[in-house]
Symmetry: C2
């Protein structure tokens, strides 16, 4: 129907995303504690009043930014896989999803910095924690499906429980990702380890 329901402009969702993106940029650069109405408004190139209008409470602003980050991440994965990861070739999908977790370009680096800030916030903010748990539940479930399909396709002999293998892969990838982020591991090394772990799931011997 109407693209604009009310008021001037009224590209409501668009504006919200623009502001949420500004929050993410600040978080990536200087952390969550640097997020304030003034800071966000300046970064987004809008008035502080507008920020407050779209997000009456700071809590909502932060949560919107978190959701926005997840949406961006999901979109990026889908773009790289070329569709729904669950219907893509399982091994390729596994490789993309897991290697995208480790920072290797500005975009992934920024995303992981943001994510790391929110993981800390989740420890003292139940609203974020709930979203985080839901996000991980979906993530691990999706990974488990991929692992199972990969096992079925390959010549996996015994076959580890898909769910367990999925969690193991994710944990390894996330741990390595943080090491890369703080600069104690090279992106290439992390990637190699992840590929080896994926090969292991396929019944091949890891390097």
């Amino acid at each position: 129907m109407n693209r604009r329901t009310r008021g001037p402009g009224a590209r409501h969702e668009e504006r919200r995303e623009q502001i949420a993106d500004a929050v993410l940029a600040i978080v990536a650069g200087r952390g969550l504690q640097a997020v304030s109405q003034t800071e966000v408004a300046a970064r987004a190139g809008v008035s502080a009043g507008r920020v407050q209008h779209y997000f009456p409470a700071k809590k909502e602003l932060i949560e919107a930014a978190f959701d926005r980050a997840n949406a961006r991440s999901t979109a990026r994965i889908r773009r790289l896989v070329g569709g729904d990861p669950l219907t893509a070739p399982p091994r390729e999908a596994l490789t993309v999803v897991l290697t995208q977790l480790v920072p290797h370009d500005p975009e992934t680096r920024t995303h992981l910095r943001v994510r790391q800030s929110f993981t800390a916030l989740a420890l003292s903010d139940e609203a974020i924690a709930g979203r985080m748990r839901a996000r991980y539940a979906e993530f691990h479930r999706e990974l488990a499906v991929l692992v199972r399909r990969a096992q079925d396709a390959g010549a996996a002999p015994a076959g580890l429980d898909p769910r367990t293998a999925a969690v193991r892969l994710a944990a390894l990838a996330e741990g390595l990702a943080y090491y890369v982020l703080i600069g104690i591991t090279e992106p290439e090394d992390a990637r190699e380890q992840i590929l080896a772990a994926i090969a292991d799931v396929h019944g091949e011997r890891p390097a």
Copy 2:
């Protein structure tokens, strides 16, 4: 010589540790952003002036708390292993060091919450980041020594590069630890996965 160099009491280091511990308690409970002079003073049971006296700048207070957390962690590991981990039976030391990373009692849970807060801070605070890198360098080096000794002792056939294996083990353990912390993985499951990974390093087939 003199335990007290100057002034009343002058149990300088002791007081600093007491205040640093208060900081850690606050971080564990409500996160880094809840740390303020007033809050710390109240938690430590001292005047706000004293906090300021021992830590003229907040930056120093935070860094002292970080160092304190590391010292506590090191002491706990040594206590559990019963001496220097590097001279203990390698497989036992590996098991202790890695399984202690995942939260399974109030102490380890608190420690990991604190650690998680600091990992986020390290992304926007170079002083903390430097300390963090140094800490990990030592941690991974120590793990690598243990892995090498474990490989020598066991019947490991080929033998993965000890350094690579060490990083892999640590990454897996830390990833699992965070999953446990936010409640999407059970402590027992995480422990099992870690034990399996250690067995793998020893040349045994993982479960």
